[in-house]
């Protein structure tokens, strides 16, 4: 890939008018999104907001009903050869080949990606080391804990040194130690100029990690920009988010007056 093709101005991801409905329910309702390259980007929204659906469509795992997706300047659906070799993905809710050991899984993924065998083995060994998985590398993935699965998935996504990394809820169900490890690897990776796009419903996490944020709710983008822009005058991203989706200050006291009352 040359400088000319993906000049500094080319966004990592450009999404236009993206739609997806599952039967009668619309999961993604016309998303327009431009994510700059080289940033740590958070896609944040409550459960069911459409994060997974959006990321699946952006990475070519789910066919959109309408709309275009460009990753590093190439159309995901028309130019899969160029796109698939440049992205790494850690989806949510999909399995891995769990009857392989961690090490075998990496060896398999790397070779499917077309990397030379000894290079794959070298990178796999380093990734396993950095991610604290060296001790479990010969265990079958089916016996891994949630945190270990996320880490081995991350290793598989990083193996071919992608330009853009898509992670769906990478910290969900992960213990603090593993979370810190994942964080360290990701921060190092973005410092090299690569782009990380990750989804989360935990505002504090996004606030502490990202320098660019897109807020999604009910299948629409409510705000996008640098963290400071999106946060605006609000004291925290959480507050800003609640204001954006209009859920702030909802009075629950009267609805649940029986709760904790006389039994």
């Amino acid at each position: 890939m040359t400088e000319v093709e993906t000049g500094a101005g080319t966004p990592a991801v450009r999404v236009q008018d993206l739609w997806k409905a599952f039967g009668p329910s619309v999961a993604v309702a016309g998303i327009d999104l431009t994510l700059p390259a080289g940033k740590f980007i958070g896609l944040v929204g409550p459960n069911g907001a459409g994060k997974t659906t959006t990321l699946s469509m952006v990475t070519g795992l789910l066919r959109p009903d309408r709309g275009t997706v460009e990753v590093v300047g190439r159309d995901v659906w028309r130019d899969p050869v160029e796109v698939k070799s440049r992205i790494g993905v850690l989806p949510e809710g999909l399995r891995l080949f769990e009857r392989l050991s961690g090490r075998e899984l990496l060896a398999y993924t790397g070779r499917l990606r077309g990397l030379p065998g000894d290079e794959v083995d070298k990178r796999a060994a380093q990734l396993l080391d950095v991610l604290d998985l060296a001790g479990a590398q010969h265990k079958l993935v089916v016996d891994y804990s949630t945190g270990m699965r996320k880490k081995i998935g991350l290793a598989a996504a990083l193996l071919h040194n992608p330009e853009v990394l898509f992670l769906d809820e990478p910290f969900e169900g992960v213990d603090p130690v593993s979370a810190q490890t994942i964080r360290g690897v990701l921060e190092r990776y973005t410092r090299s100029g690569a782009t990380v796009v990750f989804s989360s419903h935990v505002m504090e996490l996004v606030e502490s990690l990202c320098d660019w944020v897109a807020v999604i709710a009910a299948g629409r983008i409510r705000a996008q920009g640098t963290l400071a822009d999106v946060r605006g005058d609000a004291p925290s991203l959480q507050q800003a988010f609640l204001e954006l989706v209009g859920a702030n200050g909802r009075d629950m006291a009267s609805d649940l007056d029986w709760l904790g009352g006389a039994r």
Partner: protein, 526 residues
């Protein structure tokens, strides 16, 4: 109906409905299955009614009921059937007592195609047998008892099977269940042969015995009462009722234990850590994607319980059918082709075997060429097992029958068939993918059963048709007395099979490459 029962029935109905919603193909497949089953059931009903008064009516009705009951017992072990029903392990969280739960699940199990078919058969059987008022009363009881016993039998076996599958030892044991089907097939085969050689009369002794075995004994009771043997009739009916009670009791006990003990995932995590291997030694497999895909496929044959079970079943049946037939002295050497056919089935639903982990494959396929190499790798992995095995089975069968002259011919036919199965398998993997749920004992997700059957049986019929030229040539050689030239079939059949496989892969590859998201969605259900 109690609330629990009503809720479970409603839950089952909505599960069925949801399984069908969304995909037109799946709905079409389901409706097709439904229509075919209904047609067969109706024909059977009419046939049985027409049999009324026939001397062998009792024998036939009883045997049909027994065979159907056997089907109910075996089905949950292998194929879809279980799929359309509620998985009790999902209900663990609910505060349900075992007794109402069992009652509710039993009633919910009565909703579906299978029970409808059974009902038709039972009604037909009693209509063909009942003569007189007392017999009619017995008949009503008999139909209810037979139907409930069949359903309870399936549920009890399924529950016991879950327990088997959730323990590691049991998982390995369950693999052997393939043998059950193989031997069952032999019994049916043998029965059919006896029938062919000596007519219905030969079955009368078997019918006499079976009319004491529940649930066929319920039908036997109607016959007994019709002949005025009230004591025998009552005893047979009571026997069936006792069997039903025993089955329900076993089922309830298994369920209670299932719901109060750790589930499969927990048990697995507690398995002792395996160390060793990964030192891959000298690589025998080709480099690049081909070898990588082959290696993964072969590892899965050994390590993935579902894949392993499917393979063991295929290997066992593929060997047992020709060898048993040869042992009985009645076998034909052409039965050896059975091995190739059975093993070729493993090429079907390749991506479904990946489960939702297929996304890892999908991320690395960006052109028809990638898809072609992927499919070819899988076919090659299959061939490393099937080719030697089919050859071995053919040689063994030939040796047992002592017909060495026919060996090249049968080998050629086997290879042609194997090639056709691989070709149709690759194509239907791309065209009709369906999920294989990993939890529990099911092999198909709700609503996808019809799709699975159509994919496999349609594929097998297509494979047979594709082989027609080779088969026709074989017949021609024999008919026109050119038997000395039958060795020609070995090179011809092999080439033809290889060409079919290549063509099948070529056809399947672009379809796979353009349908990646659809395939992923289809194999991620359940």
């Amino acid at each position: 109906m109690t609330t629990t029962t009503a809720t479970l029935v409603r839950l089952k109905l909505s599960l069925l409905r949801n399984g069908l919603r969304g995909s037109k193909g799946r709905r079409a497949a389901y409706v097709t299955t439904l229509i075919v089953v209904l047609l067969v059931a109706a024909l059977q009903l009419l046939g049985l009614i027409a049999l009324r008064g026939n001397a062998h009516a009792a024998t036939l009705s009883v045997i049909l009921t027994a065979v159907l009951a056997l089907g109910w017992a075996v089905m949950p072990l292998f194929f879809p059937s279980g799929d359309e029903t509620l998985d009790p392990t999902r209900l663990v969280m609910l505060p349900l007592r075992p007794q109402p739960l069992v009652r509710g699940l039993l009633v919910a199990s009565l909703v579906g195609i299978g029970p409808l078919f059974t009902l038709c058969l039972a009604v037909g059987a009693v209509i063909s047998l009942a003569h007189g008022a007392a017999a009619c009363v017995t008949a009503v009881l008999a139909v209810a008892l037979a139907l409930l016993t069949c359903v309870a039998l399936a549920r009890a076996v399924a529950a016991a099977n879950i327990r088997l599958l959730t323990s590691r030892k049991g998982r390995d044991l369950a693999v052997l269940s393939g043998l059950v089907i193989a031997i069952g097939a032999q019994v049916v085969n043998f029965g059919a042969r006896t029938l062919g050689s000596s007519g219905f009369g030969a079955l009368d002794p078997a019918g006499d015995v079976l009319s004491w075995i529940p649930p066929a004994s319920a039908i036997g009771a109607v016959d007994a009462v019709s002949h005025g043997a009230y004591a025998a009739g009552t005893a047979r009916l009571a026997l069936c009722a006792a069997a039903l009670a025993a089955l329900l009791h076993t089922w309830q006990r298994t369920l209670t234990r299932l719901m109060t003990s750790p589930d499969g995932s927990t048990l697995q995590a507690a398995e002792p850590t395996r160390t060793k291997r990964t030192s891959r030694g000298p690589r025998l497999l080709p480099a690049g994607r081909t070898g990588t895909v082959m290696e993964r496929s072969l590892r899965y044959v050994w390590r993935d319980p579902k894949t392993k079970a499917a393979w063991v079943t295929s290997l066992a049946i593929g060997l047992i059918v020709p060898v048993f037939n040869a042992l009985q002295g009645t076998g034909s050497i052409y039965f050896a082709c059975f091995a190739a056919g059975m093993l070729g089935i493993q090429m079907y639903n390749q991506f479904g075997q990946d489960t939702s982990a297929f996304w890892m494959v999908a991320m690395t396929i960006s052109s028809p060429r990638d898809a072609y190499v992927e499919l070819r790798g899988r076919a090659l992995a299959l061939l490393t097992i099937t080719l030697p095995y089919a050859t071995l089975v053919t040689v063994v069968t030939t040796a047992m029958l002592g017909d060495w002259r026919a060996l090249p011919e049968v080998l050629g036919l086997s290879f042609a068939l194997l090639g056709a199965m691989l070709a149709t398998g690759a194509w239907s993997s791309a065209r009709f993918p369906y999920s294989i749920p990993q939890e529990g004992y099911k092999n198909v997700a709700p609503g996808q059963a019809g799709l699975a059957w159509i994919s496999i049986f349609g594929g097998m019929v297509a494979a047979a048709l594709l082989c027609a030229p080779v088969i026709a040539f074989t017949i021609w050689l024999h008919v026109s007395d050119e038997s000395s030239a039958t060795w020609l079939l070995l090179p011809l059949g092999t080439t033809y099979g290889a060409a079919l496989t290549l063509a099948g892969l070529r056809l399947a590859a672009p379809r796979t490459a353009t349908r990646l998201p659809e395939i992923l969605t289809a194999v991620s259900k359940g």
